[in-house]
């Protein structure tokens, strides 16, 4: 009996090759080219390189600490205590995570920057000659990171607390543990997987963070901004070495953090009943908690409100006043009436849509092969789908820029840089982990007997897909796709390396508006991005 390769095995091989070509091959090309003696020597001997690399690492570590310091107490507050407005606030303060980083950064700039709202107010209040501070360098970057990344700790810790079994806490008390002992010996160990998960996410996000260091860094360089600067200076060999160095740091960080994760013991114990939030008895304390909660929410949402305000101020109208003297819709009118300003909007929309659609199709095929057909290559497929998440976006941007700027069909390299294809391709690579995770998780939860039931009722493959599989995968699929779409829509990391004037996305247009001091237009773009993102994510989260 001859063994004929099954169709699913052929499909798996094809998908693995496609993913390897998109995800791994460009990295290999860069790693191979980076072995350039003079570039290596330059990297090893220049102090600026080491300083940037070290800055990336310590900024990321401090970001983790700051985000944890804000996010964990918040999670306990909202999960364990009941006070007026708990539900609304609890949802509101998770908001920063869903917004494109660039939007958050410019909102921060308009609020706390040296010519921002707060600085102006203090300057005029104290009759100062100059702005009271300059929001620049490491401190500014850390502020922005802490502000946007505490959400990871907040959400992960809340999820961990919600999974906690109240009977376990009662058991600890029955065994004579006081509150402190219960916290350190029961709650913290049980929360560890959640906390490590949040730490990994925060570390990886700040390691790859680009907009904050780019806008606030000034002379202070981290690796991502250093790479882009080197690339713009035309020193490609050095940029490649820097890219490989950043990739290595990312992988090392991931491996070290994963080690501390431990086994997910919560899974083994099954589900329990989470402790109910305790009402705060003393009225004064209750109102204090509510007041603090609301004040915090306003503080956290203030940057975005400022963004909205700035977007309403026409060009040149707001100079030294504390409050803007004129408010109208001029900026929005210009945005939607000038073809040159409308173009980036369309570019971002269609490129995000195309990359998301392709990422969804790849994730569906991958999910089917990995979970349903259990093909021999399933581990490879899954690893390739998740890998782009483990490396900073700048690494992929440089890798794609280098791999696809050479015409060598035999090496599977084509000239795509400068064409309309390269940016959607870069967005696609970044979208794969998001759609891949969503679809794989949904596929794993999908009872295979549902599809068998459809088959036994006479439904063919496509009818089963349309009427049973897709409707069941929809929540995971929609969540992954909406995240991927929003990430592509607001992307700056890949765009700044790969854009052409014709295909420039919104993020690039925001940067050039800022450079021309057209803050109102930049803010208006930011508001539009924010609203589109919120709508897309809202639709994606619907059950």
């Amino acid at each position: 009996m001859t063994v004929r390769p099954k169709r699913s095995d052929i499909a798996a091989a094809a998908l693995t090759l496609l993913l390897a070509w998109l995800v791994i091959y460009p990295i290999f090309v860069v790693a191979a080219d980076a072995a350039h003696p003079s570039a290596l020597r330059a990297f090893l001997t220049r102090s600026g390189e080491w300083a940037a690399l070290w800055a990336s690492v310590w900024i990321s570590l401090v970001s983790v600490i700051l985000a944890a310091a804000i996010g964990i107490p918040l999670a306990f507050l909202f999960e364990w205590f009941d006070f007026p407005g708990r539900k609304t606030l609890g949802a509101l303060i998770a908001l920063p995570v869903v917004l494109p980083p660039l939007v958050g950064v410019i909102a921060f700039l308009f609020l706390y920057g040296e010519s921002g709202f707060v600085a102006r107010a203090i300057q005029s209040l104290l009759h100062l000659q100059n702005a009271p501070w300059r929001l620049q360098g490491a401190v500014a970057i850390l502020l922005v990171h802490a502000y946007s990344m505490y959400v990871y700790f907040y959400l992960f810790t809340r999820a961990g607390l919600a999974k906690l079994d109240v009977s376990m806490l009662e058991a600890a008390q029955a065994l004579g543990a006081d509150r402190r002992a219960t916290l350190w010996r029961v709650i913290v160990p049980l929360l560890r997987p959640s906390l490590v998960g949040a730490a990994i996410l925060t570390f990886m996000t700040s390691l790859g963070s680009f907009s904050a260091p780019y806008i606030f860094g000034g002379g202070f360089r981290v690796m991502t901004t250093q790479i882009v600067a080197t690339k713009l200076n035309g020193d490609l060999p050095l940029a490649m070495v820097e890219t490989v160095a950043l990739a290595l740091v990312a992988v090392a960080g991931l491996v070290i953090l994963r080690r501390t994760e431990g086994d997910d013991i919560l899974v083994a114990l099954g589900k329990g009943i989470a402790p109910r939030p305790r009402p705060i008895r003393r009225a004064s304390v209750r109102w204090l908690a509510a007041g603090a909660g609301w004040a915090l929410a306003v503080l956290l949402l203030l940057p975005h409100l400022t963004l909205g305000l700035v977007s309403l101020v026409p060009y040149g109208a707001w100079t030294t006043e504390v409050l803007p003297p004129v408010i109208n819709l001029d900026n929005y009118r210009r945005l939607f009436s000038e073809a040159e300003r409308l173009r980036p909007m369309w570019n971002s929309l269609w490129m995000a849509a195309v990359s998301t659609a392709v990422a969804v199709v790849i994730a569906l095929v991958g999910g089917w092969l990995v979970v349903r057909r259990r093909v021999a290559l399933r581990r490879a497929i899954e690893a390739l789908l998740v890998l782009p998440w483990a490396l900073p976006g700048t690494v992929f941007a440089i890798a794609l820029a280098i791999t696809f700027s050479v015409h060598a069909p035999l090496q599977l390299r084509l000239v795509l840089v400068g064409t309309a294809v390269i940016l959607p391709l870069a967005y696609l690579v970044r979208a794969l982990p998001l759609t891949g995770r969503g679809v794989l998780a949904a596929y794993r939860q999908l009872d295979p007997s549902l599809e068998e039931a459809a088959a036994s009722l006479g439904a063919g493959r496509w009818r089963t897909l349309a009427r049973v599989t897709l409707p069941q995968l929809r929540p995971g699929l929609a969540a992954g796709a909406s995240l991927a779409f929003v990430a592509a829509l607001g992307d700056i990391v890949a765009s700044i390396v790969l854009y052409t004037y014709e295909t420039r996305p919104v993020s690039i247009e925001i940067l050039s508006s800022l450079r021309l001091s057209e803050t109102g237009v930049a803010a208006a773009f930011g508001v539009v991005l924010m609203l589109v993102s919120a709508v897309v994510l809202g639709v994606g989260a619907r059950r």
Partner: protein, 318 residues
């Protein structure tokens, strides 16, 4: 003899040396066949081979003389009720039942008829998760029967129900199946369910067919020790004890607890335990060679600690 559903030397080889089959079975039109066996005996694999979800590594399956061995499930026209029902949660009851029906003017009427058959008339617009376990089971049955399949397959049809509901549902299930008159194969690991629901029972163990027959045939004339002990309670006697109960030579004796009784002579032993079950009691007796066996007798037939003699009214010699 040629059955309506013919299974000829069907075989499935899994990795690491586990093989199911070869199994051959002939099932008559309208017959209800139970596949009975412990977990891991291959009974679910047999059912999935019949449904077409697994492909056989050898042998053949035919329905009404048509070879369906390599016909995909969607074209096989076998109805299936899954262990956890596999109702589509995003569709309502009517859409679930109508899933296998072609779009035709009388589709609504067919759905209504299928629901009426399982005593759920008017449930079309209900959500699946609003139904009780028993109702979900009946919807699953109605959905499987609506396209008028040639064979009905049931995977542990009652295992998901609580014991109180199980007996009633079993009778309803039997009634619906016999009313439709459909050829049925169902899988179970419970002897009582197999006896109550099956016209005939095929006992599987380690992927092999041990014996096929009517319930009383299996109970009274098991062909081997596995069938004897798996189907019903059984005491196994060897050596001296077997000879004391009338065995000749080296044979092993199997005696049902209700076929043993206390008497003046016979196999001696001491009553170690008495388990009262209402109408009668099980007495655990320890013989002189320390073998333990059960006697079903009147509740006051003996006391714990009493020395007794036991004789058999009917034995199965193997």
């Amino acid at each position: 003899m040629s059955g309506f559903l013919q299974i000829q030397a069907i075989e499935k080889r899994w990795g690491h040396g586990v093989t199911i089959g070869p199994v051959s079975l002939d099932i008559a039109r309208g017959e209800i066949l139970a596949l009975l066996g412990p977990s891991g005996s291959g009974k679910t694999t047999m059912l999935r081979l019949l449904a077409g979800f697994e492909t056989a590594d050898g042998g053949r399956i035919a329905v009404a003389s048509e070879d369906v061995t390599s016909v995909p499930p969607a074209q096989r026209r076998f109805g299936m009720v899954f262990q956890h029902y596999a109702l589509f949660p995003h569709l309502d009851v009517g859409e679930n039942v109508g899933f296998g029906l072609h779009n035709s003017p009388d589709k609504g009427a067919k759905i209504a008829a299928a629901l009426a058959l399982v005593d759920l008339a008017g449930y079309e617009r209900r959500k699946v998760h609003e139904l009780s376990g028993g109702q979900q089971q009946r919807v699953a049955l109605a959905r499987a029967l609506a396209p008028e399949p040639r064979v009905l397959l049931l995977d542990e049809p009652l295992s998901n129900l609580d014991p109180a509901l199980r007996e009633r549902t079993r009778h309803e299930l039997r009634e619906v199946i016999t009313r439709v008159g459909i050829t049925t194969v169902f899988v179970t690991h419970e002897q009582e369910e197999a006896f109550d629901l099956g016209d005939r029972i095929a006992v599987l163990n380690h992927g092999r067919l041990e014996q096929t027959g009517a319930p009383d045939e299996l109970y009274e004339h098991p062909v081997n020790l596995f069938v004897a002990t798996f189907v019903g309670r059984a005491n196994v006697f060897r050596g001296n004890a077997a000879r004391a109960l009338g065995a000749n030579g080296q044979s092993v004796l199997v005696v049902r607890p209700e076929r043993l009784r206390f008497a003046g002579v016979g196999l001696p032993g001491v009553v170690r335990e008495r388990r009262y079950i209402g109408a009668a009691a099980f007495f655990v007796v320890e013989g002189d060679d320390h073998e333990r066996f059960e006697v079903l007798a009147e509740p006051d037939a003996a006391k714990v600690g009493e020395r007794v003699y036991v004789e058999a009214t009917r034995v199965i010699a193997l």
